[in-house]
Structures are given as C-alpha cells and as structure tokens.
Subunit: 313 residues, 2 copies
C-alpha cells in the first residue's frame, strides 16, 4: 500500500494534533499518533488540515511541528501539509517550508476570510502561490471545503489551474459532502487526483476514478478505510462490512457532531490518556452527553477502537 514516490494516493488521515494542557503541540504524541496510523492502514498523513486545528496555530508553530515530525522519523513523502492562510505571503512561506522538507505535497485552502470572491481572485491566489513558491517539486492539492472556508473552488478555476500549472496542481480534497461534484471531477479532469473528504464516499469516489480519501475518521479507523481501498474492486464481504461501519461512524455520527472535539474526547475516553481532550481555542471540549451519544451510536454499529491504538496513545 505504498504510495508512489511522486504522487499521493490511497488512505490519508487528516491527523488530529495532540496538545499539552497549556495548548502547545505535543511533538512526541503527534509522532506516536502518526506512526501508528501509518502502521495500521494509512498511506500517508495530512498534517494541519481542519481536523488538525491548523488555523489555530501560528506559522512558527506549524513549521516547528512539521520539522519535529520529520526529525522524529516520519518520512516526508508520507506527509501532505496544510498551508493555506488568509494572507498569501504566509501561504507561500508555509508551502516553501513543506516543499523544502521533501513533503509529498501541500493541501491548500483558498484565502478564506473574504466571501463572494470572484473566480479570478481564487484562480489568481493559487497561481500566485505556485509562481512565488517557484519550485519544480511543488505538488499542490486544492482544499475544497465550502462549509468551513466559505469559498467554493469552481470547476472553471480547476480547469484553468490544470491548464496553466499541469506540473504543480496535482489533485483536490473535496470536503463538500457533494458526491456528484467528486464524481464529475474524477471523470472530468485529467491529471486531477480526487480524494474523498468523507469516509463513506471513498468507495463511490474510487469507482469514479478517484485516488483515495483524506478524512478525519481515519484517526480512529484507518483499517476500515484501508480494507475498502484494497478490496472494493473485488467487492469482498470484508470491504462491504468496512463500508457499512464507515457509514455508521462517519455519516451517521461524527459528521453531525463537532468533529475534532468528538474525536479527541473519544480517544481520551478509550485510551485513558486525558491529554487527548486538549484543544486550542476557539474549540472547546464537548460534554459527557455528547461523547456518550457518539459512543452509543458507534458501539451499536459494532465499532471498537483497535487494541493496539489504545495501547500506543
């Protein structure tokens, strides 16, 4: 399940960022979490996406954590790094840093403060990032998450980017929840690797020619995603069971809850390591009732955290 050296594919976890009680990034905890995910079904890790609370950290914090992860033995070609900021010079800085470390690629939100931005502005932002980074090694993945960023990346923008930067624009993570959009992109754009942003959509996105998923449920269920990825084409019983479980855990439960908060509370509960509950403001820990709701729903579906994850974290 090794990804090609030059092109990410398969199961990538939108990794949680473990924190100390005073809200600092816990490097050893992050490295342990990533190493376990890579050993248990993940082809790679999307560091500093939405689930990883990226926008809550300073540029310096994001750079230092990435350096610590690589220094801690995680191969950079297994890392996609979220680098999209509101200020383009900051996106350029983080992107150069990740590319310089040899990461597989960067996952880039459009500038997300201003709403109703013209397509020319979204296209222009990505074009400026690519041109200013100016590095042949750059592999850029568009991060389409209109519910959170408030900005939709249109097919017109994608088409222009692929035409003008075919060696740099490598793919897209679609967190819109809109399967039809994912299918149309997977079928319609040559050279655009489409990653499902929803766990239960991995299967239909693969059927449409997509290359994998970048999702948050992968933090607790990488083995399920890996099973679907490996066996969907054969339609094995194991693949169907994994698909049903992903639907129960993601579509029927987590998707309707505060995602990062619930995942962290769940890991704290299951591993006995209370530090997992720590979040950076503006996120705050969920209550017992909300966590209980998640546990009841997922246990009813038969979901359990793997024993090895309970032990390592």
């Amino acid at each position: 399940m090794t990804a090609e050296p030059s092109r990410a594919k398969g199961i990538w976890a939108a990794a949680l960022t473990p924190l100390s009680e005073d809200g600092q990034i816990d490097y050893p905890g992050l490295i342990r979490h990533i190493a376990w995910l890579l050993a248990n079904g993940c082809d790679g890790i999307a560091l500093f996406g939405t689930t990883g609370e990226a926008p809550s950290f300073t540029l310096e914090e994001r750079e230092a954590a990435l350096e610590a992860v690589v220094a801690g033995g995680i191969a950079p070609e297994r890392l996609l790094v979220g680098t999209g900021c509101c200020a383009l010079p900051e996106t350029v800085r983080l992107t150069r840093h990740a590319v310089g470390l040899g990461c597989a690629g960067v996952l880039v939100l459009p500038p997300f403060y201003f709403k109703g931005v013209a397509d020319d502005g979204i296209y222009g932002s990505y074009a400026e990032i690519i041109e200013r980074v100016g590095d042949t090694r750059l592999r850029l993945y568009l991060y389409h998450f209109p519910d959170m960023s408030g900005i939709a990346i249109s097919h017109a923008v994608i088409g222009r980017l692929l035409q003008n930067f075919p060696n740099h624009v490598a793919g897209i993570k679609d967190s819109s929840g809109d399967l039809d959009n994912m299918i149309r992109m997977a079928r319609g754009f040559d050279g655009l690797d489409v990653f499902a942003g929803d766990d239960h959509l991995l299967w239909p996105v693969l059927e449409a020619g997509g290359v994998g998923s970048i999702t948050s449920t992968a933090n607790i269920a990488p083995h399920l995603l890996a099973t679907v990825y490996r066996e969907w084409r054969q339609g094995t019983d194991a693949a169907r069971a994994a698909q049903a479980m992903l639907k129960a855990v993601w579509e029927d439960a987590l998707l309707h809850m505060p995602v990062t908060e619930t995942l962290k509370a769940y890991l704290a509960h299951e591993t006995g390591n209370a530090a997992w509950r720590n979040l950076r403001l503006p996120l705050v820990s969920i209550g017992v009732a909300q966590l209980g709701d998640f546990i009841v729903k997922t246990e009813a579906a038969g979901f359990r955290l793997l024993q090895s994850q309970k032990e390592v974290l």
Copy 2:
C-alpha cells in the same frame, strides 16, 4: 468633534489600504488618506478592518504599516486597529503591538475559520486575548460581522465579557446590518459602546444610545456622516439630506457591490490616481461596467467626491 482621550466615539472610517502596483502597502498614500479623513469629518480611523483588507497582510506587514502611520504624524489615540486573527497567539501579538503604541483600542474579530463554534469557545477566545495581553490600557471592541467571519457574537457572550472584563471590553462594531440587534445592544448593555457598521444606520443607532459608526463609506463621504452625527438630534435639513445621501451611496449602491473593490476603483476614477485600483489577492479589481453602475447610482442621488479629496489623493 474630538474623541474623548480614553473612549472612542463619533465617526470612524474603516480605512482603505492604498497599495503599490506590486501589492505592497503604500505608507505615504495611507498617511495622506488618513490625514484627509481626520481633517474632513472623521473622529478616528479603524485601520485594518475588512475594508482595509486586513486578513490579506502578514503580521509583519500590519505592524510595520501601523508604525509608519504613527511615525507619519497620525495620533495613535485616533486609531482603532483590527487585530483579530484565526490563531489567538497572533491576535495577542498584534493587540499588544497596537496597545503599546498607544492606540485608542483594538477591533477584534473572533477566530473565523471554524464555523459553528460554541459560545464558550468565542467567550474563551476573547477572555484569553485579554488575559494574555495583560495591559490595563487595553480597550477591546468586538467585531461582529457574521456574513464575513461566519461567527456571530451572541448577547450571552457579550454579557459575560462585560461582567468579567468591564475595564477592557469597551464596545462593538456591528456589521450584521441588523438594526434591531444594534438597538438591543445599545439599550441593553451598560458600558458597551455600539458603533453602527452600516452608514445609513448611524442615525437610528445614535437614537438608541449608540456612540457612532465605523464604516467604509466614510472613505468617500466623511462629511456626510459627520453632519448626521453633529445634527441628528436637532433634525436639521442638512442632517436629513446627509442621511438620504448615505442611504443612496451605501444601502442602495455599495452594500450590494464588492465594497473594497468598488471604493478603490471609484477613488482611482475620481482622483485620476490609478494606484487606487491596486488590491491584494484574493480581491481583484472590478470591471468598467460595475464601476459605471456605482457612478450612475450615486450621481443620480447627487453625490460627488469633495474637491479637496480629489486633490490630495
């Protein structure tokens, strides 16, 4: 029309940020613009709000520009500085910087990437900023602009902040367009100075006990806002005429257009200084037709840029 030394009130312009052709902040242009606004009806300037394209600049760019403005002779007590970032340590840094320079206050967006954030998270974010800045001089103005930030600041949050930080939480700029919300805040919260974020709402907000406005139309019509502010109580003909003009320029025209883009294009057109068109991505200049629409609408209402502004900019 001088503001009290310790408390902002009256007409504050959400200042545009003039840029060079390569997108760098034009310090002399910014200082000239601010000085003209202060000499023509504005009590103060909100630097680096939405109209000023704040989120598109790095921390270093924002700090350097503020220092240049103060070094250029603009009294810091005439400045409210936008400092709200997604990452709280960055908000703390910019806030400390503005407070250290003696600015009248800071105008602070809540962290604006994550949506659906719990009230505890919004309250906690502001509380952490205030505590970490830890400076008795801090006067913090909440920046309520749900359409842009995606985050509404509830009355429950405002009440808790006023109760726990009465010496620091000084007011709010309400850019929601919801007059009822502004009136309820102006009447309901002691010690909360309410600024209208819409030009045509200055009058009713003053009637309800609000203290003034922080708006973008002030960039081209500070004299109209100043007339309403000075004469609304007497209900003079001049005040009524100014009010009607503000409605025509703001509510009937600018509000439905890309605000910063239209104001910059208009100033470029009227002053003959093409540099006014420069914007930082993701914003892009509007076309001739859109600008023409604005000019037709405002000229039909009898609006003209003051001759002195045409000459100075």
